[in-house]
């Protein structure tokens, strides 16, 4: 038994196909976009008996990093890390302090905010990334430099310091560039959390404030 079948495409199918191809081509022209997503474990540590406030300014909570392509061979990159930043900092702070309270506005004179012992304001001072197309090394890397401020609810400074964080994806085998950059960003955020949790009480100005607030001995437990 033999037979043949002829497929006659209708015009709607052709329009759909052309539209899909056009969208695919246009998508190829846009920047490579990464919305950083990951899970951040809570810290296993003794909590400091403090109520800490946290203020994420809109630039931090919606942080995104755009790097324009320098040549036609490269693609532009848009890394949106704001949501993951807030998720990581909330998790780490809740594991470090007895109580964490989000502030309703930036601490300052006249600003109504809940009463807390101090307010932490994390900010991203700088973010850099490297992918194999830049370095010819099979490693995806992210560097973040944070500017951290500890202030009173009235906005008076207690401590002001910078903190680096670094993450890399050792191999991108069977991963897209986007997935590898996401993983490097998650590693950088984990590193930021680890660095903050283990060095917070050792920042000289924070140490002095902890001694004054809690008395000697408590701050040494971190």
């Amino acid at each position: 038994m033999s037979g043949s079948m002829t497929f006659v495409p209708d015009s709607r199918a052709l329009i759909c196909l052309a539209g899909t191809l056009l969208l695919a081509l246009l998508a190829g022209c846009g920047p490579a976009e990464v919305v950083v997503q990951g899970n951040f474990p809570p810290p296993t540590m003794e909590k400091l008996p403090l109520t800490i406030g946290v203020w994420y300014d809109p630039g931090f909570a919606n942080h995104e990093f755009f790097d324009e392509a320098k040549s036609k061979k490269e693609s532009s990159w848009l890394v949106k890390s704001g949501e993951a930043q807030v998720q990581m900092w909330d998790t780490v702070l809740n594991g470090m302090f007895a109580r964490v309270v989000p502030m309703t506005g930036q601490p300052g004179p006249g600003q109504m905010n809940p009463s807390v012992d101090a307010v932490l304001i994390p900010q991203i001072a700088e973010l850099q990334y490297a992918i194999p197309a830049h370095t010819n090394v099979k490693v995806y890397e992210i560097w973040i430099r944070y500017h951290l401020q500890l202030v009173t609810t009235g906005g008076d400074p207690i401590a002001d310091w910078t903190m680096p964080a670094y993450g890399k994806t050792p191999t991108a085998f069977l991963q897209s560039d986007q997935a590898a950059v996401n993983l490097a960003a998650v590693m950088a955020l984990r590193d930021a959390g680890a660095n903050f949790a283990t060095t917070f009480a050792r920042v000289p100005a924070v140490q002095a404030w902890l001694q004054q607030t809690l008395g000697t001995g408590q701050e040494a437990s971190l």
Partner: protein, 224 residues
Amino acid sequence: MKPYNIPGALLLGGAIFLASGCVTSTVDQMVFNEPHEGIGNSTVVILGRRHASDYDTEPDFVECVGEHISSGDRSIEVIGELEFVNDFYPWFEPRTAPLQLADFERLVQRQPAVAEKMASLRTQYMIWIDGSTVRSDSSGSMTCAVGPGGGGCFGFGTWSSDSNYEATIWDFTEHAEVGKISTSATGQSYMPAVVIPIPIIAPVQGTACDGIGDQLLQFLSSQY
């Protein structure tokens, strides 16, 4: 009785031999205080060192060694690396992981939460694996083309791989470092291509995993 198909078996054996490149491997070990009765209901955790700037111990190598041990002796409970690192966050991140047993013991004294979690996991041995597998000496060339009538490749490529790993065993009962096992493996892989590329891969990392896994199994298990 069914007769053996000797030419077929020879062909299959030859194909298996050809499909994997040759690997040379050496293992050195120095261990003390072996648990001759096994580790009982204690657990073991195997972690990779990631503090060096130019290499990371591959997570899949650490997993391979863990699987080698737990499949060799089902009574040994090996805690997964990611599970352990997440449970003890932030103390085992590349930046914060203790480099010496004394550092870890200080951490346990300072952080009762860490001590409690260690006790709940019943971890007696922590094994740190440090090293990596690198590819070097690549040579040869290959050309691939695709046309309306089909495609294909032609050429020959070869490269060598070197694995170097060292496992350090910490014993929390003895409060001491009780052993070091090192392994190195080298192998040459080939990829001839006549229309279809045929990779003949030397299982260098797998050989290193088996080498270090066997020695750790001898140390930890009462059956070996």
